[in-house]
Symmetry: C2
Subunit: 283 residues, 2 copies
């Protein structure tokens, strides 16, 4: 039996950040500091952790981060007003609204309020469609991170059968679109899929984006498949039952240190690109 | 062996148009005549036929149709200017740019120029994304026609495996999204799909949207599957090899008189709905 590759997200993220460090220096020489604004509504502890990690990573790379903390009782209108303020702030290059927002808020309306050229997380409908058509500046970060990992390890995509478990607007749907645009045959599964194990067993590439801890079982994995775990559940547990899947897979992402760190690196990359675009437009 | 259902597009279209006739009368009583503008660039004979059919159908139902014919050498800028003129014309409720336009024109840019509230053919990126998220006013007409046929015949979609052959922005991609939103497990195939016959054989519902005459073969069809032929090739030939598929299918759309007439009925329905929305907004 051949060895299973461990797809090391930390290594992929480090390579992206090394490239960014140079580009950030280039911008600094022109007096521009790429700035990511993160908006956190309420006090969900894991969301607060994610936002803090993103801010820390910005500072470590010499980028600026602006943090907007809003109380849990913020209305949709108030949230949109906060987004509009960031839209109009020329010092802010990217805007991230941490998902999920409290349930009384119309999250879709809030996402839509983000100006397309600052939508570095790819959450607007326009950003989604541009990604589905293959010409987005900023595809959703987790899907883009998955593609970056596959590409970094030279895993072939064209003509392969990719099975995506999950159909959320920021993960399952856009990663299905990106795999399709790279010429995979793509099956999208979800909670109402019948005989899920049989469907997953068709996959040369399996992407778990379902939000259920250790959901994907080893005997669902076709021997030699590539398994990507995009899940993040409480306690830093993925959607894939790593131990049972590992022996079947040709390659697999761990959790932690798989898709997660690459997602943050992609977010920063998009923010740097937004700053570079702004720099070009004011030259 | 049970009988194969013939999915009669003319019957489904007639039911839609009967409903529309009442609504058009209601609008007429208020002095509003729903109006579809069609733009044809160049002199492709089949495109001219489609545009003429749409115009005729409008008149037969008491709707207005405006036809804009532009020469084959029209530039992207000239085409967009023509679209902007229709955008600004309050008598025009829906705009259809006949696909395909001559290859020197940036078709995507032209589609994007159509105002979202007049995009009755669902061709803008925004309309595409709204459809993928399940809240489009006007999903692409052929995908919507396919869903209308399935619903008219009470064909269950939830939990079924739908295989879509084709991934164009106006057909394969949006119909995949619509089937997914109706809780099918959806596999999208295309020209680079390996072992296409095996993949198609997984489908409880097979949608052929590939643009190759009589492409889908009978032995690709799982016994009892529902086969939808969304192809229209020269000589009014579908993408499905009807004779070989018929014995395997539980239900099948013919060509002609399958998806085609329903597509036109949906286009008119969207135009009537656009007029109704305008009527409500000026009340």
């Amino acid at each position: 039996m051949t060895e299973t590759w461990l797809l090391d997200g930390n290594r992929v993220a480090a390579a992206i950040k090394e490239d960014l460090a140079h580009r950030i220096q280039g911008l600094a020489a022109r007096g521009i500091v790429p700035c990511l604004a993160t908006i956190l509504v309420g006090d969900d502890p894991s969301s607060a952790t994610y936002v803090r990690m993103k801010g820390n990573m910005c500072r470590r790379l010499g980028m600026q981060s602006v943090r907007v903390d809003l109380p849990a009782e913020t209305t949709t209108e108030e949230l949109i007003a906060a987004i509009h303020k960031l839209n109009g702030d020329s010092q802010v290059h990217g805007i991230l609204l941490q998902h999920p927002v409290p349930s009384h808020i119309d999250e879709r309306a809030a996402f839509e309020a983000i100006r397309i050229d600052k939508d570095v997380d790819g959450v607007t409908t326009l950003g989604f469609a541009q990604n589905a058509f293959g010409f987005a500046d900023y595809p959703s970060c987790t899907p883009a991170a998955i593609m970056a990992i596959l590409d970094d390890y030279n895993i072939p995509i064209e003509g392969k059968h990719a099975v995506v478990i999950g159909r959320s607007p920021i993960l399952g749907k856009p990663v299905s679109a990106m795999l399709l645009n790279r010429h995979a045959t793509v099956t999208t599964c979800h909670s109402r899929t019948a005989r899920l194990d049989e469907i997953v067993r068709l996959g040369d590439i399996v992407v778990a984006a379902v939000g259920k801890p250790r959901f994907v079982q080893g005997d669902w994995i076709k021997p030699g498949a590539v398994v990507i775990d995009a899940g993040y559940n409480e306690g830093n547990i993925g959607d894939v039952d790593y131990e049972s899947c590992f022996p079947h897979a040709a390659a697999i992402t761990p959790v932690p240190a798989g898709v997660g760190p690459v997602t943050i690196a992609i977010l920063l990359k998009h923010t740097v690109e937004a700053a570079e675009r702004q720099a070009r437009s004011i030259r």
